[in-house]
């Protein structure tokens, strides 16, 4: 037994640093909840490992010692009440010992009271929206990994599939409460280093919380199968010092006001199409494809589509309100009039289409 203990100590102390390099365990925790989860996991793992070594030590000893080829004859016993009671009762108490720290961690994890900041997170196929309810700041967070990298045409970046245009920004050391919901199907918002995973369920609000230890950028992704783009729906959280957070917040508010003002300014047709192409790449190309051909049977082609080449009003209605029962979402809650006008104009001119252009005012007129 002494030898085994020695070996265990060596295994735990000597091998652990290597683990971190080779990512054999959870990522280093960056919030108090993540730290509790990590400690609990290591504890349970070590208990399981200990039991495994003892039980299968016994099994492999038996396999070696009681070989028929070594001439061992079987002893015909088949029950022993004492040992059977012992190996029913002892595991029970080990389990009670595991349940105690787990229970405490659950209660801490579920305690969303007294937050210092509340952010509403809405899942869309396939992006996240962050709404800072107290501060009137709201934006979409889209994946920025280029399609060429996914298709292996371009070299992959360091944060391949885990990079976004606008990350969620929160202050370090503050209790951040998340209110989660979804616009379409079930998603799951997950950042391993912060120890948070919570499903976003359409029609319902769920909450969770975290308190990030220190500034840094933490990356995760959607954890619940949500369709074609499930693997391409990153979550990026940028934790800033409280002072930097305030600077960011002020800049963000100013930027948002400028965006609203710009949306009503006149824009040339060429600029509108250019803007539309960007919107299309981010929000539409996953299904309808960059070449507008769609995926036969699943997602309709836009190139040559009667809707896209027909009257503008029908096309606008379609994009605003979506098609219930399919993956085509209602974009009215996700995009402003200028973006919708831009993307529709782009679609109506691209891939040989000959539809009339659309202006923001046309979109505004059709909003219900």
């Amino acid at each position: 037994m002494g030898h085994r203990r020695q070996w265990m100590v060596l295994w735990v102390t000597g091998v652990q640093p290597v683990w971190a390099d080779w990512a054999f365990n959870l990522p280093a925790p960056r919030s108090d909840i993540a730290a509790r989860i990590n400690d609990l996991h290591v504890l349970i793992l070590l208990i399981c490992l200990g039991i495994f070594l003892v039980v299968f030590g016994a099994m492999f000893y038996a396999l070696f010692k009681y070989r028929k080829s070594a001439g061992h004859a079987a002893r015909h016993f088949h029950a022993n009440a004492t040992v059977e009671v012992i190996w029913t009762v002892i595991p029970f108490f080990i389990l009670v010992g595991m349940a105690w720290p787990a229970t405490r961690a659950i209660l801490a994890q579920k305690d969303t009271a007294n937050p210092e900041l509340t952010v509403k997170v809405t899942g869309y196929q396939w992006k996240w929206e962050y709404d800072y309810l107290q501060d009137g700041v709201k934006f979409m967070s889209n994946s920025t990994t280029p399609a060429e990298q996914i298709a292996n045409v371009a070299a992959k970046g360091a944060y391949y599939l885990r990079e976004v245009d606008q990350p969620m920004v929160v202050p370090a050391g503050k209790k951040v409460r998340l209110l989660l919901t979804s616009h379409d199907v079930i998603h799951s918002w997950w950042v391993p280093e912060l120890g948070v995973k919570q499903d976003a369920i359409p029609g319902f609000i769920r909450d969770t919380w975290f308190r990030a230890d220190a500034p840094g950028t933490y990356r995760g992704q959607c954890a619940e199968l949500c369709g074609r783009g499930h693997g391409f729906m990153p979550v990026v959280v940028e934790v800033k010092s409280p002072a930097d957070y305030q600077i960011w917040l002020a800049a963000r508010k100013a930027g948002q006001a400028a965006e609203v003002a710009a949306a009503t300014e006149p824009i040339s047709l060429a600029a509108l199409k250019q803007r539309g192409e960007k919107v299309f790449t981010v929000s539409c190309a996953m299904c309808h494809q960059a070449n507008g051909q769609g995926i036969p049977g699943a997602f309709p082609a836009l190139a040559g589509s009667p809707l896209v080449n027909g009257p503008a009003a029908a096309h606008i209605e379609w994009v605003l309100n979506g098609k219930p029962g399919t993956a085509m979402p209602a974009f009215k809650d996700q995009m402003n009039d200028a973006d919708i006008a831009a993307v529709i104009t782009y679609e109506r001119a691209a891939w040989g289409n000959r539809g009339t252009p659309v202006r923001a005012a046309d979109v505004k007129a059709l909003r219900r």
Binding site: W22, A23, N25, L26, I33, I37, L40, H41, I44, V55, M59, A62, Y66, R67, H72, A74, R75, H76, H78, A79, V83, E84, W87, T88, P91, L95, M98, A99, A102, A105, I106, Q109, K110, I150, N152, K156, A158, Y159, Y160, L161, V185, I186, G195, K197, D199, I201, G203, F204, R206, D207, G220, A223, E224, L225, G227, G229, G231, P296, G297, A298
Partner: protein
């Protein structure tokens, strides 16, 4: 096939030959063989899908399949392996072995037995046919969660139909097995005299009858939500998408035990044979199996720890889940005590049974880790979960099926399986399966979600290792096919009692077992 199904012994009645024989047969041995042929075919199909999945995940980026097809492959792989391979294979064992082990002439309802089997290929064909429909096959995961499931096309309705058909087949099969066990045992065989395999199937039968209708109800609600304007799972109409998960997992967790209890039965049969010593703690094995089955109705919430249930519910489901470790532990300890002071030899069935005990327990431990709600919050829907359920279903259920196949093949074919080839099959499988699934624990811990066709660069190394293990594991299964074909065609003749330490009624009839057995009741004791 000639050796597997010898000609009628006395010509008392004539039976059709060829295809018509297999379509109309009511003989439990024929139907058992049919179940195995179906399971083997679907195993090739579902396994090829797994190979394609592992090939796509061999390196980052999209190479072979686009995300839509990838999601179809993972969904169909799950549905096919569960409903088309593991369940039919165990039903094949039940058909062949339960009557032989309890001294019954056949199953209680032989015609229904035929119907239960022939429904299955229909359902399987529907599932595969849906791949060529517009929009492709179902891609919402084998768990069929709405609202994603409600977005799909016509193949989703066809999948619901297929699940209904498979459910009917399972329920009829289960009723047949339960009735056979309760009513047709040889005179003198009390319930507590039954072989352990028969006990596990009796309990499995009750689980199937209890939960398959629940699954049917859940998919019917999906059907009406999709086509008839109901809103069971649509918050916009007053429904709740999470309710589906509750209903599904109320079926789904007992289903997990439907997939493993017969495996426990096979291992409890094989280990005593090759330890040349009776099963240790038979009574506690029976009680442990029954308690696992009862507890399985109380733990469904552990599949849903991240949906946002209240702390009280999380605690309840965590405690009940942890409790399952107690009877499961009892089983493992009993198996090891069975080996203790035995006279052990290591033929292919024994090797697979021993690997089962060891590797299934790894799956049990990762299950315990996942039962801890706070840890599960990190690991839910990651590759850790994929590793966990593949340890219990591949090195668990599938390895037990292999153990059972090698163990009873001599009884079915009259020949011993090729010892060298079967050992090669074992060692290649046992090593490759760990190369395949063990790194997935690390991937999950590091943050790789399941069901993604492409991944961030930090997951590349372990995915590559897993894929290599997967290819070797997949290729090794061809050896099994060769062993079985060789065994059916010829080989060393098996005695009536093919294994030195084997006990039970099935070893009292000749090998291969005659077409009709136990025509006269065998009085026991």
């Amino acid at each position: 096939m000639d050796a597997a199904a010898p000609a009628l012994p006395h010509g008392q009645h004539s039976a059709p030959a060829g295809l018509w024989r297999w379509l109309t047969t009511t003989n439990h041995k024929d139907i058992g063989t049919l179940y195995f042929c179906f399971a083997a075919t679907m195993f090739l199909v579902g396994g090829s899908m797994a190979m394609l999945i592992r090939a796509e995940l061999f390196q980052p980026g999209l190479q072979l399949v686009q995300p839509d097809l990838f999601n179809q492959l993972t969904t169909l792989h799950g549905l096919i392996m569960i409903f088309g391979v593991i369940m039919p294979a165990f039903t094949g064992f039940a058909n062949w072995q339960v009557p032989l082990m309890i001294g019954a002439p056949d199953m209680a309802f032989p015609r229904m037995n035929n119907w239960s089997f022939w429904l299955l290929p229909v359902a399987g064909l529907f599932l595969l046919f849906s791949m060529v429909l517009p929009g492709g096959a179902v891609a919402a995961g084998w768990t069929l969660y709405p609202p994603l499931f409600l977005q799909g096309g016509i193949s989703y309705d066809l999948t619901i139909f297929a699940i209904h058909i498979m459910g009917m087949s399972s329920i009829m099969g289960a009723i047949n097995i339960v009735t056979t066990i309760l009513n047709m045992r040889a005179p003198g065989m009390k319930l507590m005299d039954m072989p352990m395999f028969v006990w596990t199937w009796l309990i499995t039968g009750f689980l199937l009858i209890a939960v398959m209708p629940v699954l049917a109800g859940a998919v019917t609600m999906l059907l009406t939500d999709r086509n008839f304007g109901t809103h069971f799972f649509d918050a916009g109409g007053g429904g709740d998408p999470v309710m589906f998960q509750h209903v599904f997992w109320f079926f789904g967790h007992p289903e997990v035990y439907i997939l493993i209890l017969p495996a426990f039965g096979i291992v409890s049969t094989v280990l005593p044979t090759f330890a040349r010593k009776p099963l240790f703690g038979y009574r506690s094995m029976v009680y442990a199996t029954a308690s696992i089955a009862i507890l399985s109705f109380l733990v469904w919430g552990h599949h849903m720890f991240t949906v946002g249930m209240p702390a009280a519910a999380q605690l309840f489901f965590m405690y009940t889940t942890m409790l399952i470790a107690v009877p499961t532990g009892v089983k493992v300890f009993n198996w090891i005590a069975t080996l203790w002071q035995g006279s052990l030899s290591f033929e292919a069935p024994m090797l697979f049974a021993l690997a089962f005990v060891c590797l299934f327990t790894i799956g049990g431990f990762s299950g315990l880790v996942l039962a801890m709600v706070p840890v599960d919050v990190q690991l839910q829907d990651t590759y850790y979960v994929v590793a966990h359920f593949h340890y219990v279903l591949v090195t668990g259920a599938l390895f037990a099926i292999y153990a059972g196949l090698y163990y009873w093949l001599p009884k079915w074919t009259g020949h011993l399986p090729d010892p060298a080839l079967s050992r090669w099959h074992f060692w290649l499988s046992a090593i490759a399966v760990n190369v395949l699934f063990f790194p997935m624990h690390f991937l999950g811990l590091a943050g790789m979600p399941r069901r993604i066709p492409d991944y961030a660069l930090q997951f590349a190394d372990f995915n590559r290792i897993a894929s290599i293990g997967g290819f070797i594991f997949g290729a090794s299964q061809i050896l099994l096919l060769i062993v079985i074909v060789k065994c059916v065609r010829g080989g060393e003749k098996a005695a009536a009692c093919a294994w030195e330490g084997a006990e039970g009624l099935e070893w009292s009839v000749p090998s291969p077992a005659p077409y009709h057995t136990f025509g006269q009741p065998r009085e026991l004791r």
